[in-house]
Protein backbone atom coordinates (compact mmCIF):
# COMPACT_ATOMS: atom_id res chain seq x y z
CA UNK A 1 0.00 0.00 0.00
CA UNK A 2 1.09 3.64 -0.45
CA UNK A 3 3.37 4.88 2.34
CA UNK A 4 1.65 7.15 4.88
CA UNK A 5 3.74 10.16 3.84
CA UNK A 6 2.29 10.04 0.30
CA UNK A 7 1.15 13.48 -0.82
CA UNK A 8 -2.46 13.48 -2.09
CA UNK A 9 -4.37 15.97 -4.19
CA UNK A 10 -8.16 15.71 -3.92
CA UNK A 11 -10.05 17.53 -6.70
CA UNK A 12 -13.81 18.06 -6.44
CA UNK A 13 -16.07 21.07 -6.90
CA UNK A 14 -18.06 20.02 -3.81
CA UNK A 15 -16.27 20.65 -0.50
CA UNK A 16 -18.43 17.89 1.01
CA UNK A 17 -16.91 15.21 -1.20
CA UNK A 18 -13.39 16.56 -0.60
CA UNK A 19 -14.17 16.37 3.13
CA UNK A 20 -15.41 12.77 2.84
CA UNK A 21 -12.36 11.62 0.85
CA UNK A 22 -9.99 13.47 3.19
CA UNK A 23 -11.69 11.83 6.18
CA UNK A 24 -11.18 8.36 4.68
CA UNK A 25 -7.54 9.16 3.83
CA UNK A 26 -6.94 10.40 7.38
CA UNK A 27 -8.46 7.20 8.76
CA UNK A 28 -6.02 5.26 6.59
CA UNK A 29 -3.14 7.27 8.06
CA UNK A 30 -2.63 9.78 5.22
CA UNK A 31 -2.37 13.33 6.51
CA UNK A 32 -0.57 15.06 3.63
CA UNK A 33 -3.72 15.89 1.68
CA UNK A 34 -4.29 19.03 -0.39
CA UNK A 35 -7.47 20.10 -2.15
CA UNK A 36 -8.54 21.80 -5.36
CA UNK A 37 -12.06 22.64 -6.50
CA UNK A 38 -11.66 21.84 -10.19
CA UNK A 39 -9.16 20.77 -12.82
CA UNK A 40 -8.28 24.34 -13.72
CA UNK A 41 -7.12 24.99 -10.14
CA UNK A 42 -5.53 21.56 -9.78
CA UNK A 43 -3.26 21.61 -12.84
CA UNK A 44 -1.09 24.57 -11.75
CA UNK A 45 -0.91 23.04 -8.25
CA UNK A 46 0.39 19.79 -9.75
CA UNK A 47 2.93 21.73 -11.81
CA UNK A 48 4.18 23.90 -8.95
CA UNK A 49 4.37 20.97 -6.50
CA UNK A 50 6.54 19.16 -9.04
CA UNK A 51 8.73 22.24 -9.64
CA UNK A 52 9.16 22.67 -5.88
CA UNK A 53 10.43 19.10 -5.64
CA UNK A 54 7.40 17.98 -3.61
CA UNK A 55 5.25 16.27 -6.22
CA UNK A 56 1.90 14.68 -5.54
CA UNK A 57 2.07 10.93 -5.14
CA UNK A 58 -1.63 10.34 -5.80
CA UNK A 59 -4.37 12.40 -7.47
CA UNK A 60 -8.04 11.69 -6.71
CA UNK A 61 -10.43 13.66 -8.88
CA UNK A 62 -14.14 14.01 -9.50
CA UNK A 63 -15.20 13.80 -13.15
CA UNK A 64 -18.08 16.26 -13.43
CA UNK A 65 -16.83 19.74 -12.49
CA UNK A 66 -17.20 23.23 -13.92
CA UNK A 67 -14.04 24.88 -15.25
CA UNK A 68 -12.02 21.83 -16.19
CA UNK A 69 -13.49 18.35 -15.92
CA UNK A 70 -11.69 15.47 -14.23
CA UNK A 71 -11.26 13.56 -17.48
CA UNK A 72 -9.52 16.58 -19.02
CA UNK A 73 -7.25 16.91 -15.99
CA UNK A 74 -6.40 13.22 -16.35
CA UNK A 75 -5.61 13.69 -20.05
CA UNK A 76 -3.47 16.76 -19.28
CA UNK A 77 -1.49 14.82 -16.67
CA UNK A 78 -0.99 11.82 -18.93
CA UNK A 79 0.17 14.09 -21.77
CA UNK A 80 2.91 15.60 -19.60
CA UNK A 81 5.95 13.34 -19.11
CA UNK A 82 6.46 14.88 -15.63
CA UNK A 83 3.09 13.67 -14.29
CA UNK A 84 2.43 10.73 -16.56
CA UNK A 85 3.24 8.11 -13.96
CA UNK A 86 1.43 9.76 -11.00
CA UNK A 87 -1.44 7.46 -9.90
CA UNK A 88 -4.74 9.08 -10.88
CA UNK A 89 -8.11 7.91 -9.60
CA UNK A 90 -11.47 9.23 -10.77
CA UNK A 91 -14.24 9.36 -8.17
CA UNK A 92 -17.46 10.03 -9.95
CA UNK A 93 -21.18 9.51 -10.31
CA UNK A 94 -20.51 8.49 -13.94
CA UNK A 95 -20.74 4.72 -14.02
CA UNK A 96 -21.75 4.09 -17.59
CA UNK A 97 -19.64 1.84 -19.75
CA UNK A 98 -18.78 4.61 -22.24
CA UNK A 99 -17.36 6.78 -19.44
CA UNK A 100 -15.38 3.93 -17.89
CA UNK A 101 -13.93 3.12 -21.31
CA UNK A 102 -13.04 6.76 -21.95
CA UNK A 103 -11.26 6.97 -18.59
CA UNK A 104 -9.45 3.68 -19.15
CA UNK A 105 -8.34 4.86 -22.59
CA UNK A 106 -7.04 8.10 -21.06
CA UNK A 107 -4.92 6.06 -18.64
CA UNK A 108 -6.84 6.26 -15.35
CA UNK A 109 -5.34 4.11 -12.57
CA UNK A 110 -8.76 3.17 -11.20
CA UNK A 111 -12.31 4.38 -10.98
CA UNK A 112 -14.59 4.75 -7.92
CA UNK A 113 -18.31 5.17 -8.52
CA UNK A 114 -20.27 7.38 -6.12
CA UNK A 115 -21.87 6.58 -3.76
CA UNK A 116 -19.03 4.61 -2.16
CA UNK A 117 -17.87 3.70 1.32
CA UNK A 118 -14.41 3.83 2.90
CA UNK A 119 -13.78 0.10 2.32
CA UNK A 120 -14.34 0.57 -1.42
CA UNK A 121 -11.94 3.52 -1.60
CA UNK A 122 -9.30 1.63 0.38
CA UNK A 123 -9.66 -1.46 -1.84
CA UNK A 124 -9.27 0.62 -5.00
CA UNK A 125 -6.19 2.35 -3.57
CA UNK A 126 -4.61 -1.03 -2.87
CA UNK A 127 -5.29 -2.03 -6.47
CA UNK A 128 -3.70 1.18 -7.74
CA UNK A 129 -0.65 0.57 -5.56
CA UNK A 130 -0.31 -2.96 -6.96
CA UNK A 131 -0.72 -1.67 -10.51
CA UNK A 132 1.91 1.04 -10.11
CA UNK A 133 4.30 -1.13 -8.06
CA UNK A 134 4.14 -4.60 -9.56
CA UNK A 135 7.47 -5.58 -7.98
CA UNK A 136 6.07 -4.78 -4.50
CA UNK A 137 3.33 -7.42 -4.78
CA UNK A 138 3.36 -9.85 -1.84
CA UNK A 139 4.80 -13.20 -2.85
CA UNK A 140 2.45 -16.17 -2.82
CA UNK A 141 3.35 -18.56 -0.05
Amino acid sequence: MFPTDTKFLVVDDFATMRKIIKKVLNELGYTNVEEADDGKTALPMIQSAHDAGQPYGFIISDWNMPGMQGIDLLKACKADPRFKSVPFMLVTAESEQKHILEAAKAGVSDYVVKPFNSATLKGKMERVWAKHNPSAQPKAS
Binding site: F14, T16, K19, I20, A93, E94, S95, K114
Partner: protein
Amino acid sequence: MSAAPKTEALNPLFDKRLINAFVDGVIKTLKTMAQTDASPGKPFIEPQFVLKGEIAGMVGMVAPPLKGTLLISYGKDSIFHVLENMLGEKHTEINGEVSDAVGELTNMIYGSAKTTLNQLGYNFEMAIPTVISGDFKITHADKGATLVIPFNLTNGSTFYVEITVQ
Protein backbone atom coordinates in the same frame (compact mmCIF):
# COMPACT_ATOMS: atom_id res chain seq x y z
CA MET B 1 -30.67 -2.81 -31.04
CA SER B 2 -31.51 -0.22 -28.43
CA ALA B 3 -34.41 -0.92 -26.13
CA ALA B 4 -35.20 2.80 -25.86
CA PRO B 5 -38.57 3.46 -24.29
CA LYS B 6 -41.16 5.03 -26.58
CA THR B 7 -41.02 8.31 -24.70
CA GLU B 8 -43.26 10.14 -27.15
CA ALA B 9 -46.07 7.71 -26.35
CA LEU B 10 -45.58 7.48 -22.62
CA ASN B 11 -45.42 10.16 -19.96
CA PRO B 12 -42.27 9.10 -18.10
CA LEU B 13 -43.88 10.09 -14.80
CA PHE B 14 -46.06 7.01 -15.23
CA ASP B 15 -43.08 4.77 -15.94
CA LYS B 16 -42.65 2.77 -12.75
CA ARG B 17 -39.03 2.08 -13.68
CA LEU B 18 -38.29 5.82 -13.59
CA ILE B 19 -39.78 6.12 -10.11
CA ASN B 20 -37.87 3.04 -8.95
CA ALA B 21 -34.59 4.37 -10.34
CA PHE B 22 -34.89 7.51 -8.21
CA VAL B 23 -36.12 5.60 -5.14
CA ASP B 24 -33.18 3.19 -5.42
CA GLY B 25 -30.76 6.09 -6.03
CA VAL B 26 -31.90 7.84 -2.85
CA ILE B 27 -31.82 4.70 -0.70
CA LYS B 28 -28.39 3.60 -2.00
CA THR B 29 -26.81 7.05 -1.70
CA LEU B 30 -27.97 7.68 1.85
CA LYS B 31 -27.18 4.16 3.01
CA THR B 32 -23.68 4.10 1.49
CA MET B 33 -22.54 7.65 2.17
CA ALA B 34 -24.39 8.39 5.41
CA GLN B 35 -25.38 5.01 6.88
CA THR B 36 -28.90 6.41 6.88
CA ASP B 37 -32.07 4.46 6.15
CA ALA B 38 -34.62 6.32 4.02
CA SER B 39 -38.06 4.74 3.61
CA PRO B 40 -40.05 5.82 0.55
CA GLY B 41 -43.65 6.87 1.13
CA LYS B 42 -46.47 6.82 -1.42
CA PRO B 43 -45.64 8.93 -4.50
CA PHE B 44 -48.20 11.52 -5.55
CA ILE B 45 -48.75 13.96 -8.40
CA GLU B 46 -48.75 17.65 -7.64
CA PRO B 47 -50.23 20.05 -10.22
CA GLN B 48 -48.43 23.12 -8.83
CA PHE B 49 -45.21 23.67 -6.94
CA VAL B 50 -45.55 23.68 -3.15
CA LEU B 51 -42.58 24.63 -0.97
CA LYS B 52 -41.56 21.66 1.15
CA GLY B 53 -38.49 22.67 3.05
CA GLU B 54 -35.80 25.20 3.70
CA ILE B 55 -33.22 23.93 1.20
CA ALA B 56 -33.26 21.98 -2.07
CA GLY B 57 -30.88 20.59 -4.65
CA MET B 58 -32.05 20.93 -8.22
CA VAL B 59 -30.72 19.47 -11.43
CA GLY B 60 -31.94 19.88 -15.00
CA MET B 61 -32.46 16.45 -16.55
CA VAL B 62 -31.95 16.24 -20.28
CA ALA B 63 -32.61 13.08 -22.28
CA PRO B 64 -33.61 14.24 -25.75
CA PRO B 65 -36.47 14.61 -26.55
CA LEU B 66 -37.25 14.66 -22.81
CA LYS B 67 -36.45 17.54 -20.51
CA GLY B 68 -37.14 17.70 -16.85
CA THR B 69 -36.14 18.75 -13.40
CA LEU B 70 -35.15 16.82 -10.32
CA LEU B 71 -35.65 18.70 -7.07
CA ILE B 72 -34.77 17.23 -3.67
CA SER B 73 -36.21 19.34 -0.83
CA TYR B 74 -35.20 19.05 2.81
CA GLY B 75 -36.39 20.61 6.01
CA LYS B 76 -33.70 21.45 8.56
CA ASP B 77 -34.45 18.34 10.63
CA SER B 78 -33.97 15.96 7.70
CA ILE B 79 -30.82 17.49 6.19
CA PHE B 80 -29.13 18.01 9.58
CA HIS B 81 -29.82 14.35 10.42
CA VAL B 82 -28.25 13.17 7.12
CA LEU B 83 -25.22 15.44 7.53
CA GLU B 84 -24.57 14.32 11.07
CA ASN B 85 -24.52 10.71 9.88
CA MET B 86 -22.48 11.46 6.76
CA LEU B 87 -19.84 13.86 8.07
CA GLY B 88 -20.11 13.56 11.84
CA GLU B 89 -20.97 17.27 11.91
CA LYS B 90 -23.83 18.80 13.88
CA HIS B 91 -25.45 21.71 12.07
CA THR B 92 -28.03 24.08 13.52
CA GLU B 93 -28.42 26.50 10.62
CA ILE B 94 -28.47 26.42 6.83
CA ASN B 95 -25.08 27.67 5.71
CA GLY B 96 -22.59 27.20 2.89
CA GLU B 97 -21.46 23.79 4.13
CA VAL B 98 -25.04 22.50 4.27
CA SER B 99 -25.71 23.88 0.76
CA ASP B 100 -22.57 22.20 -0.57
CA ALA B 101 -23.62 18.85 0.92
CA VAL B 102 -27.13 19.17 -0.57
CA GLY B 103 -25.51 19.78 -3.96
CA GLU B 104 -23.28 16.71 -3.68
CA LEU B 105 -26.17 14.52 -2.48
CA THR B 106 -28.25 15.69 -5.46
CA ASN B 107 -25.33 14.90 -7.75
CA MET B 108 -24.95 11.37 -6.39
CA ILE B 109 -28.68 10.58 -6.36
CA TYR B 110 -29.14 11.84 -9.92
CA GLY B 111 -25.97 10.04 -11.06
CA SER B 112 -27.17 6.78 -9.57
CA ALA B 113 -30.69 7.07 -11.05
CA LYS B 114 -29.30 8.21 -14.40
CA THR B 115 -27.12 5.11 -14.69
CA THR B 116 -30.12 2.84 -14.07
CA LEU B 117 -32.35 4.78 -16.47
CA ASN B 118 -29.78 4.84 -19.25
CA GLN B 119 -29.39 1.07 -18.94
CA LEU B 120 -33.15 0.92 -19.56
CA GLY B 121 -32.79 2.87 -22.78
CA TYR B 122 -33.21 6.48 -21.68
CA ASN B 123 -30.35 8.79 -22.51
CA PHE B 124 -30.04 11.21 -19.59
CA GLU B 125 -27.01 13.46 -19.61
CA MET B 126 -24.92 14.46 -16.60
CA ALA B 127 -25.47 17.95 -15.22
CA ILE B 128 -24.16 20.08 -12.38
CA PRO B 129 -26.76 20.69 -9.64
CA THR B 130 -27.87 24.00 -8.21
CA VAL B 131 -28.80 24.53 -4.55
CA ILE B 132 -31.58 26.89 -3.49
CA SER B 133 -32.60 27.82 0.03
CA GLY B 134 -34.98 30.08 1.88
CA ASP B 135 -38.51 30.88 0.77
CA PHE B 136 -38.29 29.86 -2.89
CA LYS B 137 -40.83 29.19 -5.58
CA ILE B 138 -40.33 27.15 -8.75
CA THR B 139 -42.39 27.78 -11.84
CA HIS B 140 -42.06 25.23 -14.61
CA ALA B 141 -42.29 26.75 -18.06
CA ASP B 142 -44.56 24.00 -19.36
CA LYS B 143 -46.82 24.11 -16.28
CA GLY B 144 -46.56 20.32 -16.20
CA ALA B 145 -47.36 18.16 -13.22
CA THR B 146 -44.74 17.03 -10.76
CA LEU B 147 -44.26 13.58 -9.30
CA VAL B 148 -43.42 13.81 -5.60
CA ILE B 149 -41.87 10.94 -3.66
CA PRO B 150 -41.63 11.48 0.12
CA PHE B 151 -38.85 9.76 2.07
CA ASN B 152 -39.03 9.22 5.82
CA LEU B 153 -35.96 9.16 8.03
CA THR B 154 -35.53 7.40 11.36
CA ASN B 155 -35.62 10.69 13.32
CA GLY B 156 -39.21 11.20 12.14
CA SER B 157 -38.36 13.80 9.50
CA THR B 158 -39.29 13.68 5.81
CA PHE B 159 -37.64 14.94 2.66
CA TYR B 160 -39.06 15.02 -0.87
CA VAL B 161 -37.87 14.02 -4.32
CA GLU B 162 -39.82 15.93 -6.98
CA ILE B 163 -39.58 15.03 -10.66
CA THR B 164 -41.03 17.11 -13.46
CA VAL B 165 -40.72 15.87 -17.04
CA GLN B 166 -41.78 17.70 -20.20
